[in-house]
């Protein structure tokens, strides 16, 4: 079994991994990126609608800046995010988008003059200033005060991923695909690399590195219906979990997107509603304004998904052989707009539902879409407990999104984290030293080899595919949009039973290569561990926050749960993860906990410190404003944060310069 030595090992070749690899390579590090699939097939490519960055170029984004993006993100997270991380993110996002433009992302640009847009189902004329023609345009998305989402039609993730992959090629980054990390190599609470399986030959190898980064995306495929690609199994987070050292954060924080196509679960972008599309019920009635008079169809995703399910529960769903659904109507936008800006949506609708969305409505139903939880990392991207392990993008709980992510903040986070964390990761690798015996490496390799061979020898009655399906059904039925103690407890019990069943299987083909049944035989137990972390976290979080909705605890309970759930697997034989909590410090927040501006009102159990912090924020802001302090000074007084100077530099904007 081969041993490969390198400076920087990156596991995962989506936007976050690729951008991090670029950061490492630019520092002169020997960099190796491994990916289960060719990097351009990564799930980042599936992002449709766009990337949030407060450029403030277009008419509808005038007045936008980092402060507005920050406020939207914090409210979107239902005060669950790390506000310092959110600040780092919003400050870097405009730079990320400009860097991507330089690398060739063909962002849709502003055209001077008048155009018609559909706003609140009415035709509205928007006039763009002539001197802004050619700058990057943005569209509307849910939960945002300004039109902030930059886009390339509805194939934004694709063009971003290709541009970053192109840049990695230009820099000659070593990327190798059809390689899967199956175990992290740790020694004295330090990560020294990974055991990696070649998915073509089935052979194991060890990659020994000064620093290791996991950027393997989310865990959507623990659910039965998900918009996620089939590779989003959460196994990157699972190998971190299996170290017994790294912690996972907020695994119960799982987003359900309002408008996947029903029943296939293929995503139809939020841009459909951002561009003016609306949701309708079985009577063709537009119901969202009744629930959310202010943001209507464009409240945050958690809110819209819940309102849709609430409306179906009232008997307003459209009945079909596969169950009930609602309609997404973009026909009001007109064929020309759809074929230019929502082209993949039209293609998906025609191919998979046989409906031309310029003339018909598309069947939609909320389904799993995004994992806010992941490997818990510090603002520099490193695990607080496992030295030398970094994580970025959806795989991480950095924690930008708290309990609900805003549309357009996912690809944005992936690239921005690749810049910020990629740089701190590279600096770590430059300074790090590891000492590891070849004997220990060989022992780790042999452990995995023995494990794989033992799976082939199992002689049980179950199919690993059936176990996987069962897990997905449990998660969708009992750890879904609406949760309660009884269902969650039964999910935890059933998942434990299912985990034991993984040893009661038989694999037909006895070869170590080209054996997809064997692949699942070691992946599914890891997926069940991830599912258990989510289910246990959800069971113990007796409140409703963002996407985590407990019907038995409908209020957001800041008094008891203004914290982050940490789960880890203490001993390999433990039946369940160990749960700890990490408090969020209300007195350090830039925005004190309050009402989000959408969703149910008067639904908060207040934190004892919230009012005090709110007063403090007002006092500091008033005092500084009286002294004519600028917004940066006020921000720094409220919540100082660290960021490398090149990313913390002020962002220039049209009309206001660096103000």
């Amino acid at each position: 079994m081969k041993i490969i030595y390198t400076d920087a090992l990156i596991i995962g070749g989506g936007l976050a991994g690729l951008r991090s690899a670029i950061a490492a390579k630019k520092k002169g590090l020997d960099t190796v990126l491994i990916s289960m699939v060719p990097v351009r097939r990564s799930h980042s490519a599936a992002a449709q609608g766009g990337m949030q960055a407060s450029l403030g170029n277009g008419k509808m984004s005038e007045g936008d800046n980092e402060d507005v993006h920050f406020s939207d993100t914090v409210k979107g997270s239902d005060w669950g995010c790390d506000q310092e991380v959110a600040r780092m993110f919003v400050q870097t996002a405009p730079k990320a988008i400009r860097e991507l433009a330089h690398w060739g992302v063909p962002w849709t640009r502003i055209r001077a003059g008048e155009r018609t847009a559909i706003i609140n189902t009415k035709k509205t004329i928007i006039k763009e200033d002539a001197h802004n023609e050619g700058l990057i345009q943005s569209r509307d998305f849910g939960g945002t005060k300004k039109w902030r989402t930059c886009y390339t039609a509805d194939a934004t993730g694709h063009t971003m991923l290709y541009a970053v992959a192109n840049e990695a090629n230009r820099l000659n980054v070593y990327m190798t695909h059809r390689k899967e990390a199956v175990s992290l190599i740790t020694k004295d609470d330090q990560c020294c690399g990974a055991v990696v399986r070649d998915l073509i030959t089935g052979k194991l190898g060890a990659y020994i590195a000064k620093g290791t980064m996991i950027a393997t995306g989310g865990y959507g495929r623990i659910f039965k219906v998900s918009t996620n690609a089939v590779i989003c199994k959460g196994t990157g987070a699972a190998i971190a979990l299996e170290t017994g050292i790294a912690r996972l954060g907020n695994m119960e924080a799982i987003q359900f997107h309002p408008t996947p196509l029903f029943p296939s679960g293929i995503l139809l972008t939020e841009g459909c509603r951002g561009d003016g599309g609306v949701l309708r019920d079985k009577d063709g009635y537009r119901f969202m304004p009744d629930y959310e008079p202010d943001k209507k169809d464009l409240a945050s995703r958690d809110v819209v998904s819940r309102r849709m399910m609430e409306h179906i529960a009232k008997g307003k769903g459209v009945k079909s052989p596969y169950g009930e659904h609602l309609w997404l109507d973009i026909s009001i936008l007109g064929r020309e707009h759809i074929e230019k800006n929502l082209r993949d949506v039209a293609d998906i609708s025609k191919t998979f539902a046989g409906i031309d969305p310029a003339t018909g409505w598309m069947p939609v139903l909320p389904m799993q879409h995004y994992s806010m939880g992941g490997i818990r990392v510090k603002p520099n991207g490193e695990s607080p407990t496992l030295k030398g392990l970094f994580c970025a993008g959806e795989a991480a709980c950095w924690d930008l999104h708290g309990f609900n992510r805003l549309g357009g903040n996912s690809v944005s986070e992936a690239v921005v984290a690749g810049m910020i964390i990629g740089e701190s990761f590279a600096e770590y690798c430059l300074g790090a030293n590891i000492t590891i015996d070849t004997d220990l490496i060989n022992q780790k390799l042999q452990e995995q080899q023995t494990y794989l061979e033992s799976l082939l020898k199992l002689n049980g009655t179950q199919s690993i595919f059936a176990i996987k399906t069962k897990m997905q059904e449990i998660m969708s039925a009992k750890v879904g949009i609406f949760r309660n103690a009884k269902d969650l407890q039964s999910a935890v019990d059933e998942l434990q039973e299912l985990y034991r069943e993984c040893k009661n299987i038989t694999i037909k083909n006895k070869k170590l290569h080209g054996n997809v049944e064997l692949d699942d035989a070691y992946r599914v137990p890891r997926m069940i561990k991830i599912a258990l972390c989510a289910a246990v976290g959800a069971l113990q979080r007796c409140e409703s926050r963002g996407a985590h909705t407990r019907t038995d605890y409908p209020k957001r309970d800041d008094a008891n749960f203004l914290n982050r759930t940490l789960t880890y697997w203490k001993h390999p034989d433990d039946p369940l993860p160990t749960v700890e909590y990490e408090e969020l410090d209300v007195m350090k927040m830039e925005i004190a906990p309050g009402f989000r501006g959408y969703g149910d009102k008067d639904n908060i159990i207040e934190h004892p410190g919230a009012a005090k912090r709110a007063e403090e924020i007002t006092r500091i802001t008033d005092e500084l404003t009286a002294k004519h302090a600028d917004r940066f000074t006020i921000q720094n007084a409220l919540m100082p944060y660290e960021l490398s100077p090149k990313y913390k530099a002020k962002n220039q904007r049209v009309g206001v310069g660096y103000e």
Partner: protein, 239 residues
């Protein structure tokens, strides 16, 4: 009454010296909106647990699942059984790429080589300050680049190509489209002479015989022939 489908799959494990290519038949019931990705998932989970095929997004955007379905290269996830009059289908691995096993082929390694060969990245010599307002780009030029940037490197154009059959090293419509894409990009400073160095031979722009298989089968409906013809005209002007 749902239709009964017969699915014949070309199975072969080139890493197993004792294995020989064989066609294996499976029977299943057709369900509404049944894609070939779902067909393969069903066969794997119920009938042939080690059946190898590639799939990632299952939504027609990642380009992983190209294969030959009844003689034509197609994306398995975007091809639905009910669009065919036939009830018998034969699935074979995508031609022109290294076979991994059964329907799984290594398009990734081929595309990696192609991208390096045509230097598929923006060439520029001006450093940028990412704090500053971005360079203005003509909206039509941006749209044009986007149009050409939609390629998902699925390999269907390569598998549909007559030239590729005769010239192993032909860069394919995908490679020529990359050149067209960067040639159109206002950020890229390369001259036509420099592009000629990359593709000005029979394994490049002058190899295309305009048989149009690429455009006929492209799942993204890219204007391949039009762009290749224009590129050829520009390259001929230099030659």
């Amino acid at each position: 009454m749902s239709r009964k489908l017969t699915i014949n799959i070309l199975e072969y494990d080139p890493q197993d010296p004792s294995d020989r290519p064989k066609i294996v038949s499976f029977k299943m019931d057709e369900t509404p909106s049944l894609s070939f990705y779902l067909v393969l998932k069903y066969i794997k989970e119920h009938l042939e647990p080690d059946l190898a095929y590639d799939v990632v997004c299952r939504a027609g955007i990642c380009g992983s699942c190209a294969m030959i379905i009844n003689g034509t290269p197609r994306l398995a996830c975007k091809t639905l059984t009910n669009n065919f009059k036939e009830t018998e289908f034969t699935l074979a691995p995508l031609a022109g790429f290294a076979l991994i096993k059964d329907l799984s082929v290594n398009t990734g390694i081929w595309m990696k080589g192609m991208n390096k060969r045509v230097e598929a990245w923006v060439h520029q010599n001006t450093p940028m300050d990412i704090s500053k307002i971005e360079r203005k780009i003509d909206p039509d030029a941006a749209d044009e680049v986007f149009e050409l940037d939609r390629c998902i490197e699925c390999g269907i154009c390569v598998a549909s190509c007559g030239t590729k059959l005769m010239r192993e090293d032909f860069v394919g419509a995908v490679g020529l489209m990359k050149v067209a894409r960067f040639r159109a990009d206002p950020h890229d400073i390369r001259s036509d002479e420099e592009f000629y160095e990359l593709i000005g031979d029979d394994n490049g722009i002058f190899g295309c015989m305009s048989l149009m298989g690429c455009e006929d089968n492209c799942p993204k409906e890219l204007p391949l022939q039009n762009k290749i013809a224009y590129l050829r005209k520009k390259m001929v002007e230099l030659g």
